[in-house]
Amino acid sequence: MSWLISDAVASIREQLQDTRAGSYRYSDVKLLRYLNSAFSDVRRLRPDLLLPTLDVPAFVEADLLTPTAFPIDGMYYSAIVDYVAGTVSLEEDEFSVDGRASTLLNRFTQKLISRGA
């Protein structure tokens, strides 16, 4: 299956229980900023996923309105979702759960560098 960036944002919102359209807790801009930093970490841990150019993708709100393809292999889709959900959960607000954030970020790393989930 070919994922889109809009699919990734939707999956992240489901992870965060933030699916009420019109009154999102986290804006698209924020989620996309964390998504872009996820791909920076992908570049650090697994540069082979960004072959042949090794360019780190950067997405903007307009990419959610068009069928923008997920830039790396679909095998690592869930890892990216975990990263963004985990990073958002690190924010200091009443909805944050530090333990959950740590679990999600560890899952991201383990999925990239080992066969762990």
Binding site: D48, L51, P52, M75, L112, I113, S114, R115
Partner: protein, 220 residues
């Protein structure tokens, strides 16, 4: 020479089974590196080029690879044909000005290559007049850079498993990847290195004989 090629895309599913978590492009990149190493160290892709003529007072000639997606690696020998007979030209390992100076214009006797330009050869002495196509080089080839993802069928026919081991071994040797496996990498890389040695020997014998038996493979 066969000009048939196979695309790496056809081989990736089989390699992907051995390398969970590897992307098709990562596998193709590793295969290209293994293929280049195999061809440069074994000189297994060996061909005779078409005969070319010599020109009056001209010593240096540039050889063209037989296909657009190949490069000349080494010149193993040069044959000179005249009056229906052929003979090998002597290879000058370094330019011997004494030998070259002592031969006057006439039938060629010596040749040497250039390390900085593998497809360039010099033939001495230069002829006194233009000739018919009479010089046949034996060269070994490699793939172009950047690689076009095409693999000569000829190489795959004999060395498919060796190249697979080279690819899988290289990738398993990487650290912090889902497919990292140092022990299995050693196994595959040993197979790869042994395959390179075998290929070098078989190519040197034109894929017809082995050192101690008259035919390849041993069970034929």
């Amino acid at each position: 020479m066969s000009e048939a090629y196979a695309c790496i895309d056809n081989l990736i599913p089989e390699l992907a089974i051995e390398l969970p978590g590897a992307t098709p492009l990562g596998i193709a990149t590793a295969f290209g590196s293994a293929l280049r190493e195999f061809l440069s160290e074994s000189a297994a892709w060996r061909v005779e080029l078409d005969a070319f003529p010599l020109h009056e007072d001209k010593s240096v000639y540039y050889l063209d690879p037989p296909t657009p997606n190949s490069l000349i690696l080494y010149v193993h020998g040069v044959r000179y044909m005249k009056d229906g007979a052929s003979r090998e030209l002597h290879s000058l390992t370094q330019q011997d000005s004494t030998k070259v100076a002592s031969t006057s214009a006439g039938d060629p006797h010596f040749f040497h290559g250039y390390a900085d330009c593998p497809g360039r050869i010099a033939i001495y002495p230069p002829p006194a007049e233009d000739t018919e196509p009479c010089v046949i080089p034996m060269v070994s080839l490699t793939v172009t850079e950047p690689w076009d993802r095409q693999i000569p069928i000829f190489v795959l026919r004999y060395w498919r498993e060796v190249l697979f081991s080279g690819t899988v071994g290289r990738m398993m040797n990487q650290q912090d990847k889902p497919y990292s496996n140092a022990n299995t990498a050693v196994y595959h890389l040993r197979k790869f290195r042994a395959g390179i040695v075998r290929a070098r020997d078989m190519a040197g014998r034109q894929y017809t004989t082995a050192e101690h038996i008259p035919t390849f493979p041993r069970w034929a």
